[in-house]
Symmetry: C2
């Protein structure tokens, strides 16, 4: 079972990496970009669990370690 | 228009960030994890472009700046 956790900064939290990328793309001649935000994508391969149990486990992992919930949000997809 | 670029290390390229996360989760008591890989998710807000043009532009951005195609693969979703 494969779980994908996307972790990104909450709306309103400054994203310097995104800002730098935005600036770099502009310098390279790419225009028409309104905003760029950069997050992490964590792909976890889990051993034999039901979809529900996997969701529960990965939510726990996200709360404990993968995301800093003070400044970050996360979404989980189980595939 | 919103484009999502997922950039991740090619299969076979060592992912130390993933390994460290795997180890940390094990230390916290999460078992049954086979593998963890960590990539970047880049969310780009683009000004009025057709879906096709957006795809073309974001592919160019990925090849030029967002991904290091020697060691990284990327996927693009236009939403």
């Amino acid at each position: 079972m494969k779980a994908i956790v996307n972790v990104y900064l909450k709306q309103g939290v400054l994203d310097p990496q995104g800002k730098a990328t935005h600036h770099a793309l502009n310098s390279l001649g790419f225009d028409g970009i309104k905003d760029i935000r950069i997050g992490k994508q964590i792909i976890i391969e889990l051993d034999g669990l039901s979809k529900e149990d996997a969701m529960k486990k990965v939510t726990q992992m996200s709360e404990t370690l993968l995301a800093n919930t003070v400044i970050e949000d996360y979404t989980i997809e189980i595939a």
